[in-house]
């Protein structure tokens, strides 16, 4: 068994030769005094070889005397004897210690930064950016925080789509994928249509290539084809081209907002009361039970269950019931104030709907007055460009 052998090797054992007339007695005595002995072999009549642990050899003397056997050491094996052999070679041991410490210390550092990936960014720029993120030759491995370095690099550089930082041995491997440039100077070569991504009324249409399918004043829906890639001709066959052009749409955004003349505002006074209940299995014990004297209050109930490592639950539960006093104030607006506020809030929420690149052409406000409040309806008219290229059959 290899495991047994290794244990014996580590402890160190000796091969002994026993000679005498009463070898059996010797074995019995060894057995009775609890000394481990193995691999017993007969060499001749009255001569056997065996193996015992080196530490137990000193116990043998009395046994050999009792059994009148001669014991001789044939061989010494195991780690303790090897170590003993090198006991006097101090420089040798010191060198081994020095080399192993040097290797472990050198292993703590990064000795090479490798940048992989197919990119057009000058590598010196990337290296200098990496140096700012503490990824450079001669830095302690544990000082490199690859997660933050990744985030900082992608934030700093706009031309990097993805970056991976990993440390393998003494190498820091940085993998970079460059962003593909915007599709503006990218020419469509496949036949396709220009479709709308918005709803609205066509204001202007300019066709560079293809056939216009809509006219000024026509209502278009989302996904409708504006410029078709099919070119019909009286003189030749119908052919397919990549449609190109620009369409301007009129669009509207509306929003309503109602402001009442009277409004209740709820605020906390900061006064608090609390009850605490302990729950053991199914029996409840009130630790604090005062209730509350507040006229108006919010109740917050929080439950705490005890558990070990967040896994094993105990059947003990502490429930805290917190009362927070609240006060209600009434706020009144005059007609003018309510009107202004309603218009302002309606416009704000309508502007949120309007896309950034849209041009605002007109604004209309419609006010509806009621008994209890005022409602403002706002309509914003915009001009927007649309047109998304879509491949035919793609």
């Amino acid at each position: 068994m290899p495991l047994k052998e290794t244990v014996k090797n580590i402890k160190g054992y000796v091969c002994i030769k026993v000679e005498g007339y009463f070898v059996e007695r010797f074995l019995n005595l060894m057995m009775n005094s609890g000394i481990d002995i193995w691999d017993i072999r007969q060499e001749n009549v009255g001569v056997i070889t065996a193996k015992i642990y080196a530490r137990e050899f000193s116990k043998i003397k009395s046994i050999s005397r009792k059994s009148k056997c001669k014991v001789r050491i044939e061989n010494k094996k195991g780690v303790p004897f090897v170590l003993n052999k090198y006991r006097h070679r101090k420089i040798f041991a010191a060198l081994i210690a020095i080399i192993s410490t040097v290797i472990t210390v050198l292993n703590l550092f990064v000795w090479k930064v490798e940048v992989i990936g197919d990119f057009t960014i000058p590598i010196e720029e990337i290296r200098s950016d990496l140096e700012e993120e503490n990824i450079k030759v001669g830095v302690l491995k544990k000082n490199i925080n690859s997660e933050t370095a990744k985030i900082n690099m992608t934030l700093k550089r706009n031309d990097i789509a993805w970056i991976g930082v990993s440390i393998k041995g003494n190498k820091a491997i940085v993998e970079i994928i460059e962003k593909v440039k915007d599709g503006k100077d990218y020419v469509n070569t496949y036949p396709g249509n220009v479709i709308s991504d918005k709803e609205g009324i066509v204001e202007k249409i300019y066709v560079a290539q293809g056939t216009a399918l809509v006219r000024k004043g026509e209502i278009v829906e989302k996904g409708q084809i504006l410029i078709s890639g099919e070119m019909k001709s009286d003189f030749s066959e119908t052919r397919l081209v990549p449609a190109d052009g620009e369409v301007t749409l009129k669009t509207w955004y509306t929003e309503k907002y109602k402001v009442p003349y009277e409004k209740e505002i709820i605020s906390k006074t900061g006064n608090k009361d609390r009850d605490v209940t302990l729950k053991l299995f199914n029996c409840k014990i009130n630790l604090l039970n005062n209730g509350t004297n507040f006229e108006k209050y919010d109740t917050i109930i929080s439950c705490n269950r005890f558990s070990i490592f967040g896994r094993i639950d105990f059947p003990i539960e502490i429930t805290t019931r917190q009362y927070e006093e609240i006060s209600i104030e009434k706020l009144t607006y005059t007609k003018l104030q309510a009107k202004q506020l309603a218009i302002k809030l309606a416009k704000e929420s309508a502007m949120r709907k309007v896309p950034k690149d849209a041009k605002i052409v007109d604004e209309k406000v419609n006010l509806i007055e009621n008994k209890d409040g005022i409602e403002a309806e706002i309509l914003i008219q915009c001009e927007e460009k649309t047109g998304i290229y879509k491949r035919i059959g793609g």
Partner: protein, 87 residues
């Protein structure tokens, strides 16, 4: 003595316990004809390549037999075993 032993035996059979729990009986495990393990052997009387005699009245005959391990409880013998006999 004999009476108490039989009582012990009765107890073991009644409780469905293995019979080797009786103190003085050796237990012999023989694997093929070259591995022999004897528990409760009590000691060696004679050791030779061709014969091993144990205190618990067992003689083992064979060729080129080695004692692989020996301690108070068990003895493990390897080699070509031909006979296991009781005196």
């Amino acid at each position: 003595m004999k009476n108490s032993q039989s009582l012990k035996q009765k107890f073991l059979t009644a409780m469905d316990l293995p019979i080797e729990l009786l103190n003085d009986v050796p237990r012999i495990t023989l694997i093929g004809n070259n591995n022999l393990l004897i528990e409760n052997h009590k000691g060696i009387i004679e050791y030779d390549e061709n014969i091993i005699r144990l205190v618990s009245h067992i003689n083992i005959l064979g060729n080129q037999m080695n004692v692989e391990e020996i301690n108070n409880e068990e003895i493990f013998i390897t080699g070509e075993i031909t006979n296991v006999e009781f005196e």
